[in-house]
């Protein structure tokens, strides 16, 4: 009999998706979109959100196929043992790159904003410890933690947006489409490639591990739409409050946006609320990424006991910490990589795997 901590509810499943996709708020995601699409960034998110539904629906289609299997087992079933294993290894490499970038992003943020004199290795370690613990405890712990974090995050988010309303100027988002539709398409491609990965990570959880799995599709689409709405609000607020010239100048736009807020003349430094909100999201994203890789190796080595599982997690965590220290020379390289290489090197192959898998599933279903 499987352990109880391998099961989550459909709500927790969708909450994990929401938290992970909201991690695009700070760091590299919004900055890149703001710099490409300028004052049309909010349109970009709206339009890309609709187009982005395609890979999400394809993913749901894959998740629904053989609900007892995780993505790795599905791949070997769909592509055969040899090709399936090659695809699995490729996926692990791509997800590991994503993990490394995310850990770099998180520790770089903390180091830039709060702990500028602390060696970055220690900042990274402090972030990785709870991730190791959550992964070790299993998906149920991740789900429950996310459930707590999402409500805290939503309260913080609602409070921040309410505080910002008074500063928002509609004129700042005008004129629209000044540079035509190309920046929207370019920004949209990036946005879809960033938001697709968090949802892809969920495919590691077999649908049968979701207790009330009938609601999964409904909840997952809802959390996707909610994350699009959140991102839309964040970008709209960034542009309408700061103006596009200043908004696109900052490395952490939303963080500086928060610095403007003063509630009732007493509450200041609300940027730290936002930072907490973002760290919650990044924690969930990184935990799920480690969990994804861990699940693969547990399957490969047929691990049943806790000790080897912990060793696998520690190895993944250590490798990601070490590689995050060396992955980018500086933030310019990081931005360049995320803007130009990531969509092609990481997101595109994953999208191709999703499309081919969907195609094969539909053929197999028809053949039946």
């Amino acid at each position: 009999m499987e352990k109880k901590n391998n099961y989550i509810s459909a709500l927790q499943y969708s909450i994990i998706a929401l938290l992970m996709s909201n991690s695009l708020f700070v760091g590299l995601g919004t900055m890149i979109i703001l710099n490409i699409s300028k004052q049309d960034s909010w349109i970009t998110v709206g339009a890309a959100g609709l187009v982005g539904l395609i890979p999400i629906l394809l993913l749901i289609y894959i998740i629904n196929y053989h609900p007892a299997l995780n993505i790795f087992n599905k791949n070997t079933k769909l592509f055969g043992s040899f090709l399936g294993n090659i695809i699995n290894v490729m996926m692990i490499i791509l997800v590991f790159i994503t993990l490394t970038i995310n850990i770099w992003d998180l520790s770089n943020y903390a180091s830039t904003k709060y702990l500028s004199e602390t060696p970055i290795i220690f900042v990274t370690i402090i972030f990785i410890i709870p991730i190791i613990y959550a992964c070790y405890k299993g998906i149920e712990t991740i789900g429950r933690t996310s459930e707590i974090l999402v409500f805290l995050g939503l309260i913080l988010f609602a409070f921040i947006i309410w505080s910002l309303l008074g500063y928002s100027e509609f004129d700042n988002i005008k004129p629209i489409l000044v540079n035509g539709i190309n920046p929207i398409i370019e920004g949209g491609i990036r946005y879809i490639s960033y938001i697709m990965i968090p949802f892809f990570l969920l495919s590691v959880i077999p649908k049968n591990d979701i207790v009330d799995n009938k609601n999964t599709t409904k909840y997952l689409i809802s959390s996707y739409l909610l994350s699009i709405l959140s991102m839309f609000i964040v970008l709209y607020m960034s542009i309408s409050v700061l103006g596009i010239d200043i908004a696109s100048l900052y490395r952490y736009t939303e963080y500086y946006l928060m610095k403007k807020i003063e509630v009732f003349g007493v509450l200041e430094n609300l940027e730290n609320f936002f930072a907490i909100h973002w760290i919650f999201n990044m924690f969930t994203l990184n935990t799920m990424t480690v969990y994804f890789i861990m699940t693969y190796f547990i399957g490969i080595f047929k691990v049943k006991k806790d000790k080897p599982k912990l060793i696998i997690i520690l190895i993944i965590a250590s490798l990601s910490v070490i590689s995050s220290l060396y992955i980018f020379k500086n933030s310019t390289t990081a931005v360049h990589f995320m803007k130009n290489q990531y969509p092609i090197l990481v997101a595109l192959p994953i999208f191709i795997i999703i499309v081919i898998s969907t195609f094969l599933i539909s053929i197999k279903k028809k053949a039946k």
Partner: protein
């Protein structure tokens, strides 16, 4: 086994407490204001910082420290602002802390020629909040402004900030503008930045002496001046008082102000106090020419009336409203004329209205906007309501 992990976790957490970044309060020098000048001869930034005197603050108003200044000013020069700030550690025993910066003062010379070279640091710096206010030392150096002590507020930086806020809200000759808002105006299409100014009334040497602030009539005081106008990153001139009020009315920056106007032909005056104002500037394109339509609605109270009239008569009140409206309209007219004719700088933001609402026209004509802007025809519709006339119902002269 679990104990081992627990000990390992605790050990790791102890290593990662972030103590590398700790700063004791007594080890940092809290900066309230920074002044930026430029030494043209040596081609160096000349930075002056006003630091809160913690010794004075902690000892309160004990007799021994009564004559001690609440702030200390340090000055330094370097090729970059950051280096100049860091050079101050050679004189100050504490490391400078920018987190509580309230005011950034630009010297006139710096604002005229070198502003563009000096804006980066304060945007890039991690320590400072970007919401500090800015002010221009009118016809003066920023370092002089920084040195002047203020009588009613212990911290001069805070005093300057409060004066700007008060002059902006209650008089209308200043504009409360933060650093990021100022830069946003500079970067914006079709408009130019405007900045509040500050003037020293008296000798600098008197103003730096704390004895001066302990008298009932200090010899030297800081006074908020009228607005300074920029084109791109360069200071181009100043508006006068009426023009500054007109500007703030047009920009919806003004809520309260007093307007005095003649109420008869015998050089007698009346005053109204504005309680609320709302303006809307819209531009339309007709025959390939932009035309401005300015709508302003004001609610004001009659606060002084030194003429002889029957204020119970509604026609008289209507007449007073018209005269007050004419006076206010004159200020708006004056500021538009100043922008179109005197400076040919679109700080009113007509171009911005075109950019926001008629982008195709802006795209076509942005390079020739300097020629189009002075010829823009405008119409001012001012609706002034005068619902209250104070504690008395008639003119005091009328009896």
């Amino acid at each position: 086994m679990n104990k081992k992990y627990f000990v390992l976790l605790i050990a790791l957490i102890l290593c990662t407490t972030g103590c590398w970044n700790y700063k004791e309060l007594n080890e940092i020098a809290i900066i309230g204001a920074i002044g930026i000048d430029y030494d043209d001869e040596k081609e160096l930034f000349d930075i002056s910082v006003q630091i809160l005197n913690a010794k004075k603050t902690s000892s309160g108003s004990s007799s021994g420290s009564e004559q001690q200044s609440p702030v200390t000013v340090y000055q330094s020069k370097a090729k970059t602002i950051h280096e100049a700030l860091r050079n101050i550690v050679l004189e100050s025993p504490k490391k400078l802390y920018l987190g509580h910066l309230e005011i950034l003062v630009f010297g006139e010379g710096f604002a005229k020629k070198h502003l563009e070279d000096g804006v980066d640091f304060f945007l890039r710096d991690l320590e400072s909040r970007k919401v500090f206010n800015i002010v221009l030392a009118k016809e003066d150096k920023a370092s002089n402004i920084i040195k002047i002590l203020t009588p009613l507020e212990g911290m001069p930086a805070h005093s300057i900030l409060q004066s700007i806020l008060s002059a902006s809200k209650n008089k209308g000759i200043a504009t409360d503008i933060t650093y990021d808002e100022f830069l946003s105006q500079i970067y914006a299409n079709g408009t130019e930045a405007v900045i509040p100014t500050i003037i020293i009334d008296g000798k600098v040497s008197d103003g730096t002496d704390s004895k001066d602030t302990s008298t009932t009539a200090p010899k030297t005081k800081l006074r908020i001046g009228t607005l300074g106008i920029f084109e791109d990153f360069k200071l181009k001139g100043y508006l006068d008082q009426d023009e500054s009020i007109g500007y703030n009315l047009l920009q919806n920056n003004l809520d309260y102000s007093i307007f005095s106007f003649p109420c008869d032909d015998k050089k007698n005056y009346a005053a109204v106090e504005m309680n609320s104002a709302k303006s809307k500037v819209s531009l339309s394109i007709k025959d390939d020419k932009p035309k401005a339509d300015i709508k302003i609605s004001i609610e004001a109270n009659l606060t002084e009336y030194n003429c002889k009239s029957n204020l119970s008569d509604e026609k008289v009140i209507e007449e007073i409203s018209k005269k007050a409206a004419k006076n206010i309209k004159g200020k708006i007219d004056k500021v538009i004329k100043a922008s179109q004719e005197k400076y040919n700088i679109d700080f009113i933001g007509f171009g911005e209205q075109v950019y926001l609402n008629n982008y195709s026209y802006w795209k076509k004509h942005k390079n020739e906007w300097k020629n189009i802007f002075p010829n823009i025809e405008y119409k001012i519709n001012l609706d002034l309501k005068l619902p209250k006339k104070g504690s008395i119902i008639n003119s005091a002269k009328e009896g």
